[in-house]
């Protein structure tokens, strides 16, 4: 790449230099100029069919499609000239003549490129007198429904299934204005990554059945996050309405997931809203757990752990910050920690290198291993008689009642209280991952931040806060007021993370300095 020739051209009066072979559209992006477009998508092969990105290139006889025209030295490109604007206005009018204009009941409204460009550059009134074309809604299978009448035939969905998913189950059927996106009877959009066609659709033609009618786009709050459903670490946007997570969508990251996320990750969000959460700290009073304030609960938890070897059973989806603090507790008590990982079938996205729904269905397996936790099918096996047991949001299915009898005392830090742990001395309620911020380390050792997307219930605190206070109560000097401070301490303590900070990670993450210890 470094020896590629550089081309310098002028776009909307701005000079820009880009590698040879770059399209005018991408060069314009680099110059900070948006060329309106529909069929073009950086993650798909170029089609050049919507004709929305026509731009005026000085000395060229015709307007050029910016997506399919390579830059040339000295080119002078006008995106907003009269000719280009007229052409786009024409395309918009053609796209709208058969469009139902049913924005009030369309899920895409508010995040629709047809609305946006029409608002910006379209005609103020329609000229079509004739009846509009009509086609029924189709169920495409999977999570996808096709509202044919809204389709602008950009073919992004077809190209995704053909070239990225490499399972050509969609087609363009018929021709002329009878053309629609089609599929074959009995062959649905069941590919594990097919939900991406909904995101790729620039209009409201392909919709998520799961999200259907749940919210208007403008009612949503969005937070940058990382998918917790496997070790791939796809960058996501968590979208909430009234503090409820209603949709997960991929957030572009060239180094991890390009523009995509799998259906498993996309639809695995209901647990984030589960109502049966721990909302207050609990301490043991005789045979009962009673709610209390945080200070008393931390004191009780510290008392239950101190003076004993601590064995920790943790969730492999805890943040690096939480796991680091647990590891500090274990170091102070010469204890050990382990975790179990839920497994599932791996499902790659063939068109993107090293992108798959991974068999390890937890976000931070690598982070946990790097911080010294042992992966085990029986994480309680290391619990010795007389140990204190610290359970941090671990899957209840690993908690065998017979093993638990070996524990001298039990402290629970978690989002819920499993039945088997009702004998705990203290229970500290924590936020789940969308209720706090933190970092995960993905299977390639990339450390990525996730932000808080919703408020935690009741008195629940971020995991790093609860564990930081517990660590302090056990005698460790210092206290943490921010997740970033915990991460700074982690970066100072661990050579793999040396020099990293929330600022340097940004929202797209950085790889750890040494190769990940285990790559699965």
């Amino acid at each position: 790449m470094s020896d590629a020739k550089t081309i310098t051209l002028t776009i909307e009066g701005r000079q820009v230099s880009v590698p040879e072979g770059t399209s005018i559209l991408e060069a314009a992006k680099a110059a900070g100029v948006l060329v309106p477009h529909y069929c073009y998508h950086p993650g798909l092969p170029v089609a050049g069919v919507c004709r929305m990105c026509l731009v005026e290139v000085e000395k060229a006889p015709k307007l050029a499609p910016a997506c399919a025209t390579a830059v040339a030295d000295g080119q002078v490109v006008h995106v907003h000239s009269g000719k280009a604007l007229e052409a786009r206005k024409g395309v918009l009018e053609f796209l709208l003549i058969n469009h139902p204009l049913d924005c009030p009941i369309c899920d895409q409204a508010g995040e629709c490129e047809l609305q946006d460009y029409t608002f910006a550059e379209g005609r103020s009134e329609g000229r079509l007198i004739e009846p509009k074309r009509f086609n029924p809604v189709e169920d495409f299978g999977g999570d996808v429904m096709y509202v044919t009448n809204r389709c602008i035939l950009c073919t992004r969905c077809v190209r995704f299934m053909d070239d990225v998913a490499q399972e050509p189950v969609l087609n363009v059927s018929e021709r002329g204005d009878r053309a629609v996106i089609g599929k074959f009877e009995g062959q649905d959009l069941t590919h594990p990554w097919s939900g991406n066609v909904v995101d790729l659709c620039p209009v409201g033609a392909l919709l998520s059945k799961d999200f259907l009618n749940k919210a208007r786009a403008w009612e949503l709050d969005r937070a940058a996050s990382v998918c917790p459903s496997c070790t791939q670490g796809c960058n996501t946007m968590v979208e909430t309405r009234d503090n409820m997570v209603v949709r997960l969508r991929p957030r572009p990251n060239e180094d991890v997931n390009k523009y995509f996320m799998c259906d498993h990750g996309r639809l695995n969000y209901r647990w984030m809203n589960r109502p049966d959460r721990l909302e207050a700290p609990l301490v043991r009073q005789g045979d009962r757990l009673v709610a209390t304030e945080w200070e008393g609960a931390i004191t009780a938890a510290a008392r239950a752990l101190s003076g004993k070897r601590v064995h920790a059973v943790v969730s492999p989806s805890l943040s690096n910050e939480a796991l680091f603090l647990v590891s500090r507790i274990l170091e102070r008590t010469q204890g050990a920690g382990s975790f179990r990982v839920e497994r599932g079938a791996e499902a790659p996205l063939p068109g993107v290198e090293d992108l798959a729904l991974r068999a390890d269905r937890a976000a931070n397996v690598i982070g946990a291993e790097m911080l010294g936790f042992q992966r085990s099918e029986t994480p309680l096996a290391g619990l010795r008689g007389g140990d204190a047991l610290l359970v941090v949001d671990a899957d209840p299915s690993v908690l065998d009642a017979n093993d638990l009898t070996r524990a001298a005392s039990v402290v629970v830090v978690g989002t819920t209280l499993p039945e088997a742990l009702r004998m705990a001395a203290a229970v500290l309620p924590i936020a789940n991952m969308v209720e706090e911020e933190g970092t995960f380390t993905n299977l390639r050792g990339r450390v990525q931040r996730f932000l808080q997307a919703r408020a935690a219930p009741g008195m629940a605190r971020p995991s790093w806060w609860a564990l930081g206070d517990l660590l302090a109560a056990l005698g460790e000097p210092g206290n943490y007021l921010l997740a970033s401070a915990v991460f700074d301490a982690l970066a100072a303590a661990r050579s793999e993370f040396a020099g990293m900070s929330y600022d340097s990670l940004g929202l797209r993450g950085l790889p750890v300095l040494t190769p990940s210890p285990v790559a699965r």
Partner: protein, 437 residues
């Protein structure tokens, strides 16, 4: 010889010499008429020399675009290590055009010989002759001629005993006008929807199966043997006008004309003589009103424009239209121009491949407006809308199907506006009898 009528004395039969002669169809008959001598001659020449002769002849593509044939062949780089392909465009579908059909019907070996010479000149071992599915008779005649040529060793592993492989296959279309567009044709050969491709890359760089490809029209290829036999100078001299238009051209004539058929004239022949003398002019009791001279995709000419035209690439442009494919559609005073244009628009709407927005939506919308005007439901405002839509459909898409729909609409409104206005003012088609309306 013209067909189906006798040759007119003012015609210059080259390609059409044997039209109507069933014996010319067989290999023996073709040989007896001098066939395959040009191929033999070509095989004794270097490919570069053949390309130069064709360049010197001034032969230009007869499919519609008029690109210089020798120049097109010269884009094929010898020794690039890639398989080269020749595609013969026999998808003749442009309304008004039926000349390639006659070449294939009567002189299939002329086409095969032309293809074989071209294949040798561009270093292609495989040639696909893409014949539209509706051409059942040409499919049979060319198929039979190919069988003969294989049996005789003209084609195959060692074509004409040269040790060079030249394979030639028919690829049968299945009902899509747009497959006459060269890159759509290539997609169709590859087993895809016949959608035109974005250029560049041009076919000479990445054509069928992504390999260097030359694509020529039937008439173009059929002219090549004559050029080799008689020389570039001979061909160049067959022109009575512009030096940029050489040789003879087959014109198909149809519509409201006394003697429809194919006529072969030298480039630059006066269109007035052609229409009134050669083709017999209007049917008795009628007068001619309009001509679409180059297949339905070119602008309509008024009779005044047509009668001032010299029939070559430049002559038609100078008089408000284009030579196109040489399909001359004649309308007399019995037809309603609004109706004819509406029907043409419907053709393009039916044939749009659906890729580009302007074409997919525009052709259908223009059709609806044209049909409404024809029924008497139009307004003067519709004419402005049609012109604006046509502007938005011109020069903005991957191929020119959209432009082709706009051309007759725009030229029709410009040149026959009174007919549109009469429909609008009278709220019905003035040419239909009261009983029919």
């Amino acid at each position: 010889m013209g067909f189906p009528h006798k040759s007119h004395p003012k015609e210059t039969p080259v390609l059409s010499t044997h039209f109507g002669d069933p014996e010319a169809r067989s290999l023996s008959g073709w040989r007896a008429r001098g066939g395959y001598r040009a191929l033999e001659q070509a095989l004794g020449m270097s490919p570069a020399d053949i390309v130069n002769v064709v360049k010197d002849s001034g032969l230009r593509g007869r499919g519609g675009a008029g690109f210089p044939t020798g120049l097109k062949w010269s884009f094929m780089k010898p020794g690039d290590g890639k398989p080269h392909y020749l595609c013969c465009n026999a998808d003749e579908s442009e309304p008004g055009t039926f000349k390639d059909r006659e070449i294939m019907r009567w002189t299939p070996h002329a086409l095969i010989e032309g293809c074989a010479i071209a294949s040798y000149a561009i270093g292609a071992e495989t040639c696909y002759i893409y014949i539209r599915g509706e051409f059942t008779e040409p499919l049979r005649t060319v198929g039979a001629a190919l069988d003969e040529a294989y049996r005789d060793g003209i084609l195959g592993k060692s074509a004409m005993g040269t040790g060079k492989r030249v394979d030639m296959y028919i690829h049968k279309g299945a009902g899509a006008y747009i497959c006459g567009e060269e890159t759509a044709l290539m997609n169709s050969i590859e087993g895809r929807r016949g959608t035109p491709r974005i250029k560049p890359p041009f076919p000479a760089v990445a054509g069928v199966f992504g390999q260097p490809t030359t694509i020529n029209n039937v008439e173009t290829l059929a002219a090549v043997p004559h050029i080799l036999t008689n020389g570039a100078e001979w061909y160049k001299k067959m022109s009575s006008s512009s030096p940029k238009s050489t040789g003879t051209k087959l014109f198909s004539v149809c519509g409201n004309i006394a003697r429809p058929g194919n006529y072969e004239v030298v480039m630059g022949f006066p269109f007035r003589d052609f229409l009134h003398d050669m083709c017999g002019g209007a049917r008795p009791g009628h007068t001619l009103k309009a001509v679409i001279p180059g297949g339905s995709s070119v602008p309509i000419q008024t009779m005044q424009e047509a009668e001032a035209t010299l029939m070559d690439y430049e002559g038609f442009v100078a008089n408000g239209s284009m030579l196109g494919s040489g399909g001359v559609i004649v309308f007399d005073d019995s037809v309603c121009m609004v109706r004819m244009i509406a029907r043409l628009a419907r053709f393009y709407a039916h044939e749009s491949c659906a890729q580009c927005t302007q074409c997919r939506e525009g052709t259908a919308w223009v059709t609806k407006i044209m049909e409404r005007i024809e029924r008497g439901g139009g307004t003067m405002h519709d004419l402005d809308t049609l012109l604006e839509l046509s502007e938005n459909m011109t020069g903005k898409t991957i191929c020119v199907l959209s432009d082709s729909c706009a051309a007759p609409v725009v030229s029709g409104i410009q040149k026959f506006r009174h007919e549109f206005e009469a429909h609008i003012a009278g709220k019905r088609c003035p040419m239909r009898s009261a009983a029919a309306a």
